[in-house]
């Protein structure tokens, strides 16, 4: 692999004969007192000139149905940089934003834009797993790194030490792998709700597909029966055929890890089917947000949600207060703490893996940066002590089951009504009803 040395911050001045004359005089009089930096990194080095910024891109769903979450996560990246005094080894940190639109195409286009600027050091994002799939691919191909706080699809990293379908060497995440989330949901449905027949609906997104398939496997493994499994397309509005099919399946619980728009239609239209009145509804973190709860209200009463456990430590509380102080509103995305951890992990890894030259330049070593992220061990994040594995999973697999008992209490009330907690201890799962 050829070694590429990229130099930022070079602007060609207007050269007049006068300046040329002086230039040649200076060249003739000067001696070569410093040798250029020799990059030994397998993926090459980015040399940031003195005073030039370390450029970070926060690639989030800035438009579309999840724009509120994406914008929140983008602000969190800014906050993390601010917590580093907007500096890494004496260089300012410049955060720019790209919209991934919570879609594969969005992730693809945004990533292409990112890699067209070789000065970008790393990417913070994405909001959705479906965007992470092309982004991880494109960013990794460009020898950069991308770290997400909320892309949970198992295929992005892997399961049980095996690389996932969409694994890429430059991808990392602090969000827990959905495999465990689905297991937690299945475990709760089978053992605590004592349900034996389940229907599962996904939307083709790696996130939903991963969760759905993992749930099916786990539920079946526990002895349950998946009586219905299907998909919806993004943008579908008429869910009656789907619900009709589910009603005929006699499912006791519907597990539908979808995003708000499709999820809302399912919940709202379920009321039209008397046969589904006794069927429990369970979704995942895709619907575990104020957006869904505020819109659905009474429709969603009695619904279960599985989602990552939010930390309860003092550091987290301090972060929430600071966010509120800076931006004037409280963070309510499911993965805001994980997203902050992702940002801090990226910034710290850049700081740890970079070299400061005598002239003040900063050398970003691409492979060293990846290695630094991968070797993360015991990093004290908001969500706990983070350690990254070979596949890029750095999150703490800890989930909670929430029960929407009082819609009037809103999203905050939902988060307070925890009916069970699941935690991965090595290879076993412990629950705390």
């Amino acid at each position: 692999m050829p070694i590429l040395i990229e130099i930022t911050g070079v602007a060609m001045p207007r050269i007049t004969p006068f300046f040329l004359l002086w230039f040649f005089i200076l060249i003739g009089c000067s001696t070569d007192s410093s040798r250029p930096y020799e990059c030994g990194d397998p993926l090459g080095c980015l040399i940031i000139a003195p005073g030039d910024p370390v450029r970070i891109v926060s690639m989030q769903a800035l438009t579309g149905d999840l724009a509120k979450l994406g914008q929140e996560y983008a602000r969190i990246m800014e906050l993390a940089a601010s917590d580093m005094n907007n500096q890494i080894l004496g260089h300012p940190v410049l955060v720019t934003f790209e919209d991934e639109g919570c879609s594969r195409e969005g992730g693809q286009v945004a990533s292409k834009k990112v890699i067209s600027d070789f000065r970008i050091v790393g990417v913070h994002g994405t909001t959705c797993s479906i965007s992470s799939v092309p982004a991880a691919d494109i960013i990794s191909q460009a020898d950069m790194v991308i770290i997400s706080g909320c892309s949970t699809a198992p295929s992005l990293t892997g399961v049980g030490g095996l690389k996932g379908e969409n694994w890429q060497p430059g991808f990392f995440r602090t969000a827990p792998n959905d495999t465990y989330q689905a297991v937690a949901a299945a475990y709760f449905a089978y053992n605590q709700l004592m349900l034996r027949k389940a229907a599962v609906v996904s939307d083709g997104d790696p996130y939903t597909v991963g969760l759905a398939s993992s749930f099916e496997e786990a539920f079946a493994a526990l002895g349950g029966e998946v009586v219905f499994s299907s998909q919806v397309n993004r943008g579908d509005r008429n869910m009656r055929p789907l619900l009709e099919a589910i009603s005929t399946s006699r499912a006791e619980i519907l597990f539908f890890p979808l995003f708000p728009v499709e999820g809302e239609h399912i919940v709202a239209q379920k009321k039209e089917f008397d046969a589904l009145r006794g069927m429990k509804l369970m979704s995942a973190d895709g619907l575990l947000n104020s957006l869904f709860v505020d819109r659905m209200r009474e429709y969603a009463k009695g619904m279960y949600f599985v989602g990552p456990a939010l930390p309860e430590n003092e550091k987290y509380q301090s972060f929430v207060n600071r966010y509120e102080e800076v931006f004037g509103l409280r963070p309510d995305g499911t993965y805001h703490a994980h997203t902050y951890d992702a940002a801090m992990l990226l910034l710290k890894a850049i700081e740890n893996s970079s070299l400061k030259l005598d002239d003040g330049s900063l050398v970003i070593r691409r492979q060293a940066l990846r290695d630094s992220l991968r070797s993360t061990h015991g990093f004290q994040g908001l969500t706990g002590l983070l350690s990254c594995d070979e596949l890029g999973d750095c999150g703490v697999p800890r989930f909670k089951l929430f029960y929407l008992e009082d819609p009037a209490a809103g999203y905050e009330g939902l988060l307070r009504n925890i009916v069970s907690t699941f935690e991965l201890n090595g290879s076993s799962i412990s629950t705390h009803p």
Binding site: A11, M12, G101, S103, R104, E105, G106, Q108, V109, K112, K113, I115, S116, D117, G204, S230, Q231, V232, N233, D236, R237, N238, M239, R240, P241, L242, E244, A245, T248
Partner: protein, 1031 residues
């Protein structure tokens, strides 16, 4: 600086024509240079701007072509996907896809070209930064191409006439319908048709719910088929298999559709992402062109400015040349002309400037030389005048006072700074040229002078009048409290000189002096002490009012008179010596003298001080005196008191001494008398030696009396207190004396028989009476005389009692008195004073203790003694005893018994053991023998400690203890206490030389069995022991 200096010098040396030539040449050269610079700059800028405009135009053109190509591609792609279902995939592919690929290739080529062009052209940095965006553009276009290929592939998978998923689904759907028809079951046929309808809906709308509805219908159909009994098994299996195939095909269609939809979305996003880039390129190119145009305009403007500047510079340069010519020629001539005009007008300091060495310079130098000489002559004259003026000014200024000179027209012509300071408030009315009248009115109006404040017009008139005919110096007070002394003089030129002298300090001093004089005058007038001032001959120069009052003379009577005649003649010598001492340092003295005042002779104390002149010569003497007569008297009283006190202390010491001696004597006498008594009792009556023993016993008895006198004097001889009738006692003793005294003395009684008894020791009262009668008789001697004994009762106040000759003054109250008055020789004051001193006697014989004892007894009874005597007029001694509160007090039993002086005799024999405790061996032995004679067994101890030991060993047989009071090791009190601890019932008889009251008070309420006074007789001892043992 050096170079400029050299150029300047060079320039000065040049002639007119050379200067003009150089100036003009320089001007032309500068114009040419400016024009050439402007021409070259404009050419360069024009060339560069043209390049930028061309490059920007080219970039804009290419960007717009890219944009158009991309838009065409997008349109073709949409057309393809819209039309292939109707016109057929292959045909649509041929029509659209090839075009799309060509268009995309063109866009990519354009991107490449644009990238290279921007990199090589001289566009701005902003535009150059778009190379990164063009990279993205390029990669996006490439990705677009790939995505398009993928989309076409998917479209092919979906729409291919033979293998397309859509056609496959339709085929299976048709097959299913035909198979269901074979069942001839209408419900099933309807379900199959319904499923086909849902499928068609999906293929039109591409909405997944339609397909789900199709699935649902098929599920129902499937159930019916499975559980229908009217369908044969083969057909049933075929239908169920077809249904499963349908689902698979439908799922494939759904998946392809989702992928195609995703690619479409990607296209949209790509276009959305690329459009801003091409738009940005176009806008930046436009901006670049616009900027180039602005550069041209700016260049034109700059060129105009440069040309204008060149023109301006030319004008300025021409002006400069003109200025140089003006400075070099015209100005010098003008300057020379002006200087000449100034010199002609009298300004000889004027000089023509010499700035060059040309012809005009030489002319100017010559001119200056001429004027300098004239100027020198004139300045010398002016200096002399100035010097004279300065001297006058300094002279005027040197005057400490304010100085002003008014000319004969009464105008102020000269004044000094002191004048200005005095009259600064007048402003322009105290400056040169002001008329005196204006000046003086200014003074009045400004309120400067106090007198002018209320009588302004009169004051002004006075001043004006005085100004015209000044005749003396006068003083004026200013309103600020200051004073001016104004002197006015007329000169011989009838000019007026005014001198204003500040005399405020002098005035203040005078006022202070007056106040001081007044203050001291009041001080002296009100002084109670005497203040005088005399001259060196002692004649009064000043006497205070207090002095006049004391001597009862007026000031006029005393002034000029000598003071010495007023002084007591005994003090005149000392006074004269004191006056002499005032004429030498320290020029002061203190003396006390008596002087004849209106109150008689009075003691005066004087503190004198000499007043010296400048040569330390005494000019007068000031004396401060005070009447110290009362002080003198008080001092004399104090000295007398001190003498009396000293005398009293001496007598008290003697009393203590006498008491102590008497005590020891009692011990000795007890031994002597006891032993004699025992010897006498054993001697036969006819023995010749018995007489000597009787004499010895009498002598011892008299010694005992003497001891009693001494104890009486010391006040410690009061043994027994009981009610005593003093009349009876006096009468009995007087009768006793009548037998012994001379017949020429008549004794007369004048007793008050109503007086109450007094509480006293009858023995001591008897001693008093006897002593006084004895003294009275002795005072009369052998001449005829009379002794009067009187008594009475009286109330005595303190002043009366203070006349008592005793040391202490008794408390006021009611007293019984007894007076012994004789008509003897009387006593002088010296004798009277020492009358009560012990051992003082006027007689040839006698011990001199009689009256001392009387005094001690009287004091011991809290009484008083008064003596009135004068030489030749006899003596009266009155003793007073306080009347007791309860005159019915009974005489104590013990005392009555103790008073018994008779000796009991008898042959009574006692038994038992008596312990005798006394430190005096003689007493112990005497007691032993006496007690043994009485029949007692006797044990002795020398001190208390030994007594205790003996008693403890013999307590069964000891009946009583005879205990001395004063002993070494352990005294009588402690011995008594310890003995009583051993046996509380033990009989103890105390034996002491002190009186009973004093001795027994330490044993009060402790059960003392009896008291035996030393010296005691055998009878006393026997009686006391008998009493104790019998009780």
């Amino acid at each position: 600086m050096i170079i400029l200096s050299r150029i300047g010098n060079f320039w000065k040396k040049l002639g007119f024509s050379a200067k003009l030539t150089i100036s003009t040449g320089c001007m032309l050269l500068m114009i040419i240079l400016v024009a050439a610079t402007a021409f070259i700059s404009m050419n360069i800028i024009q060339s560069r701007t043209e390049n930028i405009i061309l490059a920007s135009t080219e970039i804009r053109k290419k960007a717009m072509e890219m944009e158009a190509g991309l838009q065409r591609t997008r349109q073709l792609e949409r057309d393809f996907f819209l039309r292939w279902p109707t016109m057929g995939f292959e045909k649509a592919f041929d029509v659209y896809v090839l075009q799309i690929q060509n268009e995309l290739a063109g866009v990519i080529q354009l991107s490449h070209e644009l990238q290279v062009f921007i990199a090589e052209s001289q566009v701005s940095a902003e535009l150059r930064q778009n190379i990164a965006h063009i990279d993205f553009y390029l990669s996006a276009a490439e990705r677009y191409s790939l995505a398009l290929d993928e989309a076409v592939r998917l479209a092919s998978m979906m729409g291919h006439p033979e293998t397309g998923a859509q056609f496959e689904l339709s085929r299976i759907s048709d097959l299913l319908y035909s198979k269901v028809q074979e069942t001839f079951l209408p419900d099933l046929i309807i379900l199959a048709l319904e499923s086909r309808a849902h499928k068609k809906d999906y293929l039109v709308a591409r909405q997944r719910p339609f397909m789900q509805s199709s699935f649902n219908t098929l599920s129902t159909l499937e159930s019916y088929v499975k559980y229908s009994g009217s369908i044969n098994t083969i057909l049933k299996d075929e239908i169920l298999s077809i249904i499963e195939e349908y689902r698979t095909a439908a799922d494939r269609v759904l998946a392809i559709d989702r992928d195609i939809s995703s690619i479409f979305n990607e296209f949209d996003l790509q276009i959305e992402a690329l459009e801003p880039i091409s738009a940005l390129l176009v806008s930046q190119s436009n901006a670049e062109v616009q900027k180039a145009r602005e550069d041209i305009q700016r260049t034109a403007a700059v060129s105009m400015i440069i040309l204008g500047s060149a023109l301006l510079f030319s004008i300025i340069f021409s002006g400069g040349v003109a200025y140089i010519i003006f400075r070099t020629i015209a100005l010098k001539i003008s300057d020379l002309s002006s200087t000449a005009a100034l010199v002609s007008s009298g300004d000889l300091s004027a000089r023509a400037r010499v700035t060059s060495r040309d012809e005009l310079g030489i002319l100017a130098e010559t001119f200056n030389d001429m004027t300098r000489r004239i100027s020198g002559l004139l300045s010398e004259l002016e200096q002399r005048a100035e010097l004279a003026k300065a001297r006058l000014f300094q002279a005027v200024e040197s005057i400490d006072e304010g100085f002003a000179l008014f000319d004969k027209d009464n105008r102020l012509v000269l004044y000094n700074s002191n004048f200005r300071e005095l009259f600064y408030r007048l402003g322009h009315r105290a400056v040169q040229g002001v008329l005196f009248e204006d000046f003086i009115r200014g003074c009045a109006e400004s309120g400067l002078f106090r007198k002018a404040v209320q009588l302004e017009e009169q004051w002004v008139n006075d001043k004006l009048e005085f100004f015209h005919s000044p005749w003396k110096t006068h003083e004026e007070e200013l309103t600020n409290g200051a004073w001016l002394e104004i002197s006015e003089y007329k000169t011989k030129d009838q000019e007026t000189v005014l001198i204003f002298k500040d005399i405020t300090n002098r005035k203040d001093y005078e006022r202070a002096l007056r106040q001081s004089e007044e203050k001291y005058r009041l001080l002296i007038e009100n002084q109670t002490d005497l203040i005088v001032k005399v001259d060196t001959a002692g004649r009064f120069e000043f006497v205070s009012k207090s002095y006049c009052d004391l001597f009862g003379k007026s000031e006029e009577e005393l002034m000029g008179q000598e003071f010495m005649p007023l002084v007591h003649e005994d003090d005149q010598e000392a006074t004269a010596m004191a006056m002499q001492s005032l004429f030498r340092p320290p020029y002061s003295c203190y003396l006390e003298q008596r002087a004849m005042t209106r109150h008689g002779w009075r003691w005066l104390a004087w503190s004198d001080k000499a007043v010296l002149d400048g040569q330390n010569k005494v000019v007068s003497i000031v004396g401060a005196g005070r009447d110290i007569t009362d002080l003198k008297k008080a001092e004399a009283d104090r000295l007398a008191m001190e003498r009396r006190l000293l005398h009293s202390q001496k007598l008290e010491s003697l009393g203590v001494l006498a008491g102590g001696i008497a005590h020891d004597f009692n011990n000795l006498l007890a031994a002597i008398m006891g032993n004699l008594e025992m010897v006498l009792s054993d001697f036969p009556q006819d023995l010749s030696r018995k007489k000597q023993l009787d004499q010895a016993f009498k002598a011892a008895s008299r010694a005992a009396d003497l001891t009693r006198q001494m104890l009486a004097y010391s006040g410690k001889g009061k043994f027994v207190i009981q009610k005593v009738d003093i009349n009876q006692l006096a009468a009995e003793n007087a009768q006793f004396f009548m037998n012994t005294i001379s017949k020429n003395i008549s004794l007369e009684f004048n007793l008050d028989h109503d007086i109450p008894g007094i509480m006293a020791d009858p023995g001591q009262i008897q001693q008093v009476v006897m002593n006084l009668i004895t003294n009275a008789c002795e005072a009369i001697g052998h001449e005829p005389g009379q002794v009067i004994i009187a008594s009475g009762i009286m109330d005595c106040d303190k002043p009366y009692l203070s006349r008592s000759r005793g040391e202490k003054t008794p408390e006021p109250g009611r007293y019984v008195w007894l007076e012994i008055k004789d008509s003897g020789a009387g006593m002088d004051s010296n004798t009277l004073q020492k009358l009560f001193d012990p051992f003082f006697s006027t007689k040839f014989t006698g011990r001199g203790l009689g009256l001392s004892a009387v005094l001690g007894i009287v004091q011991g009874h809290n009484g008083a003694i008064m003596v009135e005597s004068a030489k030749g007029r006899g003596t009266a001694v009155r003793v007073l005893f306080p009347v007791p509160d309860d005159t019915g007090i009974s005489v104590p039993k013990e005392a009555r018994q103790a008073t018994g002086t008779g000796t009991e005799t008898g042959d009574e024999v006692f038994s038992g053991t008596i312990l005798v405790v006394d430190d005096e061996e003689m007493i112990r032995e005497l007691a032993r023998e006496a007690l043994q004679e009485l029949g007692f067994e006797v044990l002795t101890a020398v001190n208390g400690l030994e007594a205790l030991k003996i008693y403890e060993d013999n307590q069964d047989k000891i009946r009583a203890v005879l205990l001395d009071l004063m002993m070494p090791v352990m005294d009588g009190v402690r011995t008594f206490e310890n003995l009583r601890k051993v046996n509380p019932e033990l009989n103890v008889v105390l034996c002491s030389g002190y009186n009973e009251q004093e001795a027994t008070q330490k044993f009060q309420n402790q059960g003392l069995a009896g008291f035996l006074h030393k010296p005691f007789t055998m009878a006393d001892l026997k009686r006391e022991l008998k009493k104790v043992i019998s009780e």
